[in-house]
Amino acid sequence: MLEIKNLHASVDGKEILRGINLTVNAGEVHAIMGPNGAGKSTLSNVLAGRDGYEITQGEVIYKDENLLDLEAEERAQRGVFLAFQYPVEIPGVSNIYLLKAALNAVRKHQGLDDLDAIDFLTLVRSKLDLVKMDEEFLHRGVNEGFSGGEKKRNEILQMALLEPSLAILDETDSGLDIDALKTVSEGVNALRSDDRSIVMITHYQRLLDYIVPDFVHVLSDGQIVKSGDKELAKELEKTGYSWINDDA
């Protein structure tokens, strides 16, 4: 599904990612943990195609294509989904308009016609239940006036609707209380499948109690310094990140 090879990336001439190697197979859930400033958000932004990052070395292969050659929207249309750490508010664009435009962009790439209004609404309603959102949210501006929890649930709603092959969840647990964390996690778990890979980027182990990963990687200073299974996350929870640099 995804193969990151020796990825180096800089922002304003400063190297943030310094040789990342990571292979994610279909159906796997990977957690990438690390302290602040390790490069976690840079990694998710580079994978999603945000401007402002210079790739100095390495490549990222996604479904036999070089992901880095594609524009952000081309990646999304091919099934790469980034759940934002800070979902933006877009007053004036209704949530339902965004959902429809996003779904139709993916469908167009797949050679499918736009869904008609009735089929679309039926589909969206079925997804709303998954994240326990009220239909009223569809008619509000995108994330406009949403609470932190509502914004994250809205991200998962978009993911449920778009059914990506590769979902990158960037600090999805940040700013969530325990109930919202459960709802969001249940939504993500319901979307786990053999043909969908998930990369979770998180500072805290807490999220991993709810979305149990197959693999855990520790990112530090732009490199993956340790990989293991879910037990590694527990170890981190106990010892913190301070040991990493000593050990490495």
């Binding site: 401007d51 979902p87 877009i90 308009y97 965004l98 435009a101």
Partner: protein, 436 residues
Amino acid sequence: MPSMKGLTELATPFATMTSDLGPDVPWLNSLRLKALARFNSQGLPSKKEEDWKYTSLWAMSQQEFTHQASASAVTTEQCDELALLTDNYRVVIVDGRFSAELSQLDNLQAGLSINALSDEQGLAIAQPHLGQQIDMTKAGFNALNTLLMSDGVVITVDSDVKVDKPIELLVINTGETASLATHLRNVIVMADNSQATVIEHYVGLSDAASLTNVVSEAVLSSHAELNQYKLQQESANATHIATLSAKQGSKSQWATNNISLGAKLARNDIHTQLLGEQSHVIMDGLYLVNDEQHVDNHTRIDHTVPNTTSEELYKGVLDDNSHAVFNGKVIVHKDAQKTDANQQNQNLLISRGCEIDTKPEMEIYADDVKCAHGSTVGQINEDQLFFLRARGLDEVSARSLLTYAFAVDVLNRIPSEEIRQALSTVIETRLPQGGI
């Protein structure tokens, strides 16, 4: 400022042209003569005047205008297509002339009258109000309009009458007469506790370099409610000059929305005087310009008595080498305690070549008031843009969508769903990338 050829030729004895200017009545002739004297003494505004600092009339003043329209063949079907609304009372003016055939004024509701200024009844109704809402000592265009006004619409709504359908004034410039100048005067008289919605809709059918010089005057008695919207879609080479002016009695509400999309040069002067307590005005507007378009909106709200309120939101989207000017004046007079006034101007710049000159102004002479004003100039938000692209929208669509979202915000205070929808569709098709 050089005098205008074609226009000032009319400063020569105009007795010969009274037939073109509608009924030959002494009081009107005398009004015109005063306007003539006024125009001759002040001429057209120049950039030396503060209110015209950013808007040059030089190109227009070099143009030869005619006031004689040749016959044009606009059909009812065309009007149906051009009109913003389908279910409306419709007044159609073609190349400066009211058309009874194209207008739809059958079965007017009781208590509502709609007449052309060019007919005797309309003129008689307009007489006590003509020139009462405007200031002829400023901007020579008002004097010019008074001198040359040839047609327009006169609307009255009787006490306690709520007009059941919007009234659309469809002003069509066909372009069949080169460099045609038209001077329209509209008068709306709202009696106590009456209610109406009027849409002034200006359309150019060609790329003719026409001039529209329109003055609309509204009088709102107490408790009257008038929604007066304007949609300006003149031709790409047209000049559009408009004054929209009101006087408001107690507890009246005047809601304007001024959407400026067309013309090479467009200037709007919008003014209300809040003369009765608890009167309220909404002054909203949008200008969406590209290429070399120039749009200038000057608004003025006079709070003259206690307990009056005003809300104003003007938004602009500027692309290519367009130029926009916004000057909003809110004047709180010394007796106008408890005034609540809010004025905002927000601009979205799409290109590097465009220019906005914005000047929100408040003059406050009372001490117990709540007043806020502000102005912003920005670009498309990069975070929003990336978010939409990360959801699969291509960059062009994403930019269009964000521009649209920014612009349609000005329609929020229009209560009619039908009108909001119709206007948002017009705005959508006018986006820099041609739709979303």
